[in-house]
């Protein structure tokens, strides 16, 4: 564990990007949500009792032999195809040797120089600096299959147990869960937008993996993790994508680990750029090392000096035969790919008639699927957007949750919103009553209809009560009534207000107005 030293000096970000050009490499590990582990039949349920999902294979007991999970290979191929990669016709697993207690075998089964997928790209959307968006293409180097490690719980010496020695407690439930590691080629040309591009890439990748339904992609639970390699080189010319800049050799890079939220990806890259710029600006050199990201302080600290690939003594895994997806299998899997999330958004935006700004709000609120389902349940798109981005969104934010989890936690479903919309369009509720009903539904009082019934919320449909109220109000205000008779129609407003008051708000104001004008014409 690195000791957190005094804060490193950082250069102001604007100054940093004025002097240096960033190059990034992003490595994303994603846990597949297969039912079983990569090489054995142990379950992969998150949060199970420690060491309850283990067997001789994932514990590395002598004589145990691994067998590859067919579904994991399929998922790896689908991920590769969705990232526009070539799929290897033949590839092997390799042993990555290192002694660390999180891997009981003393090696991680991974892939080395023969990844299952390689040479792809992912187009991500970034702001173009003038209010619109543009596509930034991130080239993919490779996506390979490997296995996750166990989880260590470090027990500090201060507790005084085991003669005050520090030790670790290891749970191997996670050891052997299928992982896909997706590695970009060096990302150049992003310039000052590098942190934004990094975040947009991880976000687009997460959307893609979610659409593929291959992983839970929960960064907060660690089922998707990002390591960010960052280096700087001197600026050359005004255009980060210009020939002069591209000709400058890369600087020494650092790898920041433990970056586990979209916001952190952006912050970590930004911090590391400012930190390296301060060192280079003073004529110093960057040490090639692993750095740890600290969410609380927004800084990185030095970790171990990175091992060379040689130190891992990779060699082909003798216990597993090569994987050779036939071209027929690959084509079949290509047929199972979902519509790419970016295109899907464009299609939905056009179907719903939303502006770019409206669609961005919807995407940022993570409401795309919710609105889609609400529309499918019969609501209008505008109404669906209005209800989801209103009170539920505000409350989810206040609770620090995303809208999807918040709604799921309450059992608040798209069908409820569609029902609420129906109650409004059918004329049973006006807008303010619908808001009260929504409050009740969010408070767990039942479906919109049940809440409306229980709270007695209903626009008066029986016109006799309304007509009587109109008559009473006209009788009580002869002066105003006379003005309206004389043609001053705008004076009706005062009477409408009084009628609404008499009806305790449960009347349609337009109808009240029509009735008053009819009586006084």
């Amino acid at each position: 564990m690195a000791v957190t030293s005094a804060a490193d000096r950082v250069l102001d970000y604007d100054e940093a990007v004025a002097k240096f050009d960033p190059v990034m490499g992003l490595e994303v590990h994603v846990e597949l949500h297969t039912a079983t582990k990569m090489f054995c039949g142990c379950p992969t349920t998150f949060g199970a009792e420690p060491n309850s999902q283990v067997c001789p294979v994932c514990l590395g007991l002598p004589g145990a032999l691994p067998v590859v999970n067919e579904k994991a290979v399929e998922s790896a191929v689908r991920i590769g195809l969705a990232l526009n990669c070539e799929i290897a016709e033949w590839c092997r697993f390799a042993r990555k040797n290192y002694f660390y207690p999180d891997m009981p075998k003393n090696f991680q089964t991974s892939q080395y120089d023969e990844p299952i997928a390689f040479n792809g790209y992912l187009d991500v959307e970034v702001e173009d600096g003038s209010g619109g968006t543009e596509i930034f293409r991130v080239e993919i180097e490779r996506a390979h299959m490997e296995e996750d490690t166990g989880k260590s719980l470090h027990v500090g010496g201060s507790t005084g147990r085991i003669h005050g020695a520090e030790y670790s407690l290891v749970d191997y439930n996670r050891a052997g869960i299928p992982l896909i590691e997706i590695v970009t080629k060096p990302i150049v040309g992003a310039g000052e937008r590098a942190p934004e591009v990094a975040k947009a890439y991880v976000s687009a990748l997460r959307d893609l993996l979610r659409a593929l339904d291959v992983s839970d992609v929960k960064m907060e639970q660690g089922s998707m993790r990002c390591d960010a390699n960052v280096s700087l080189r001197v600026r050359a010319g005004d255009d980060p994508r210009g020939d002069a800049q591209l000709a400058v050799p890369f600087g020494t890079r650092t790898e920041t680990k433990n970056v586990n939220s979209l916001r952190s990806v952006e912050r970590a890259v930004r911090y590391e750029m400012s930190r390296q710029a301060a060192i280079l600006d003073e004529g110093g050199t960057i040490l090639q090392e692993t750095r740890h990201w600290h969410e609380d302080t927004g800084m990185t600290t030095s970790g171990r000096v990175k091992s060379d690939a040689d130190d891992y003594r990779y060699f082909p895994e003798p216990d597993l035969v090569p994987v050779a997806p036939t071209r027929e299998t690959v084509d079949e899997l290509r047929g199972t790919l979902p519509e790419p999330p970016g295109l899907r958004r464009k299609r939905l935006q056009s179907e719903w008639g939303f502006s770019d700004l409206e669609m961005r709000d919807v995407v940022n609120a993570r409401a795309v699927e919710l609105i889609e389902e609400t529309v499918a349940a019969g609501a209008g798109a505008a109404a669906a957007k209005k209800w989801w981005l209103g009170e539920p969104s505000r409350r989810a934010n206040a609770e620090g949750q995303d809208l999807v989890s918040y709604a799921a936690g309450l059992g608040f479903a798209p069908a409820h919103v569609a029902e609420l919309d129906r109650l409004v369009t059918s004329g049973r509720l006006n807008d303010s009553m619908a808001r009260q009903v929504l409050d009740g539904v969010l408070a767990g009082e039942g479906t919109p209809t049940e809440v409306a019934d229980a709270r007695g919320l209903e626009l008066v449909q029986d016109d006799s009560a309304l007509e009587a109220a109109v008559d009473r109000v006209i009788d009580a205000n002869p002066d105003i009534a006379e003005k309206i008779r004389g043609g001053k129609v705008q004076a009706a407003g005062a009477l409408i207000g009084q009628v609404m008051k008499e009806m305790k708000g449960q009347a349609d104001a337009g109808k009240v107005r029509a009735l008053i004008l009819a009586r006084l014409s």
Binding site: M1, A35, S52, E70, L169, V170, L320
Partner: protein, 98 residues
């Protein structure tokens, strides 16, 4: 084949987490050199016409369906552990890594 230096052996010992004294290091440099020399004879084999091979059987795509199979209980899993605590394997902490 270049000979093994003392630094090489110290580095390898570090990777393997083996603590060697200076005397042991000196001894290992000599012994490993002999072993390397013997193994290097393999490189004299006439392999110009032989394709590289990592697996003796011409098999590919040996997989299993993604179906849960019974494993060990926590007690069984921990039965061989020298130390355990809170249902977990207790191991010496390795410093300077995380």
């Amino acid at each position: 084949m270049s000979s093994l230096s003392r630094e090489d052996v110290a580095h390898l010992a570090g990777l393997a987490r083996i603590d060697l004294s200076d005397a042991e290091l000196d001894k290992m440099v000599g012994e490993l050199a002999v072993i390397l020399e013997s193994v290097a004879k393999v490189q004299q084999a006439p392999i110009a016409d032989v394709a590289p091979m990592s697996h003796p059987m011409p098999l590919t795509n040996v997989t299993r369906p993604d179906v849960v199979r019974p494993g060990l209980t926590p007690d069984e899993a921990l039965s061989g552990a020298p130390e355990q605590e809170l249902g977990r394997f207790a191991v010496p902490r390795i410093l300077d890594e995380d």
